[in-house]
């Protein structure tokens, strides 16, 4: 990634952290300490998964048959490729990095940008495992199904948007 962009994003994130920490301190030391502890624990819990995602996508990109990726979801695969990518996004497990790791792998091995955008959008909106394990137990089922049904066209809309503007 572009070095200056990396630096800018990192600086921005830490400015937000410091701002929030000051706000938390103003509300009391206990709140500040609890939030810092919770955040650090979250960080330590996600570390193994991130390691797996980053190192894993490198190895997977090496062994994945590149012509298969290009044929099914490459730049020339059109709307059928978008459909394939959307289905793949829906069946990808919903963890923090799995979808991005796979999307990065596909991008490195010749996937088309609109198809990868469809994949990332479908995975973000209706990864089946996330809907079943996280959303259905907490949110009323009627609302979940209406949301998922309304979201089904979005990967296609996003892919068509990318095709129309010719980016990224």
């Amino acid at each position: 990634m572009d070095m200056s962009l990396t630096f800018f994003v990192e600086a921005f994130l830490w400015v937000v952290v410091v701002g929030l920490a000051v706000l938390a301190l103003a509300r009391g030391k206990i709140l500040f300490r609890e939030a810092t502890r919770d955040g650090t624990m979250d960080f330590l819990r996600t570390l193994p998964r991130i390691f797996l995602g980053v190192v894993g996508s490198g190895f997977l990109a090496e062994v994945i048959p590149q012509d298969l990726v290009v044929r099914s979801i490459g730049p020339e695969s059109g709307m059928l490729g978008v459909l394939i990518a959307t289905v793949l996004g829906a069946v990808t497990p919903g963890g923090a990095v799995v979808g991005f790791a796979i999307a990065a792998t596909a991008l490195r091995s010749g996937g088309g940008a609109p198809q990868i955008i469809a994949y990332a959008t479908a995975w973000a909106l209706f990864a089946i495992q996330r809907v079943v394990v996280w959303e259905l137990p907490t949110v009323e089922a009627r609302v979940v199904w209406l949301r998922v049904a309304a979201s089904l066209p979005l990967p296609f809309l996003a892919a068509i948007g990318a095709m129309l503007i010719g980016r990224p």
Partner: protein
């Protein structure tokens, strides 16, 4: 569970690289990706801290009142803006959604909220997506996705009305 499956796949892929392409290629992949992993760490720590601070400073009832208080297109736009700003993983977002349902927010606002958080959430995009996908990809994906929470909110509301009226006919 899914972590274990991915772990097995990764080990299989690593072994395949080692056998097919040799130790040189294996070391090259692992050292490149390990550097990437190290570069990620401060960003992810910042993202986790932001999530924890916002959760402490903004109780879910407060967020739910903001999102659920307005109806119409304004309600959908407010829901979208809150979704963009709210950090945290699914374990943070779905309890807020449940609180929204409890406060009587409509399906359109709820759908716009989850969609905005999933597609446009700044914490998610900067901490998770950017390192993997690169700046160009994330920037254009986000630009393309800006209208989507509003569209899907309106669509979900239409669906809800259609389902409700078909229920009345029966």
């Amino acid at each position: 569970m899914s972590t274990a499956v991915i772990g097995c796949l990764v080990i299989a892929a690593a072994v395949t690289v080692l056998i097919r392409q040799g130790a040189g290629k294996f070391t090259e992949v692992i050292s490149h990706d390990f550097l990437m992993f190290l570069e990620l760490l401060p960003k992810i720590l910042a993202g986790c801290l932001i999530g924890a601070f916002v959760t402490m400073l903004l109780p879910r009832e407060v967020v739910a009142r903001w999102v659920g208080g307005e109806s119409g297109v304004i309600g959908i736009i407010i829901a979208m803006l809150v979704g963009i700003c709210l950090p945290g993983g699914p374990f943070a977002i779905y309890p807020v959604t449940a609180a929204l349902v409890g406060l009587g927010a409509d399906v359109g606002a709820i759908t716009a909220f989850i969609t905005a958080w999933s597609l446009l959430g700044f914490n998610r995009a900067l901490v998770w997506e950017l390192p993997f996908m690169g700046g160009d990809f994330v920037f254009w994906r986000v630009i393309i996705s800006i209208p989507l929470p509003i569209l899907v909110g309106l669509f979900a509301r239409m669906l809800a009305n259609a389902v409700a009226s078909s229920g009345e006919v029966k």
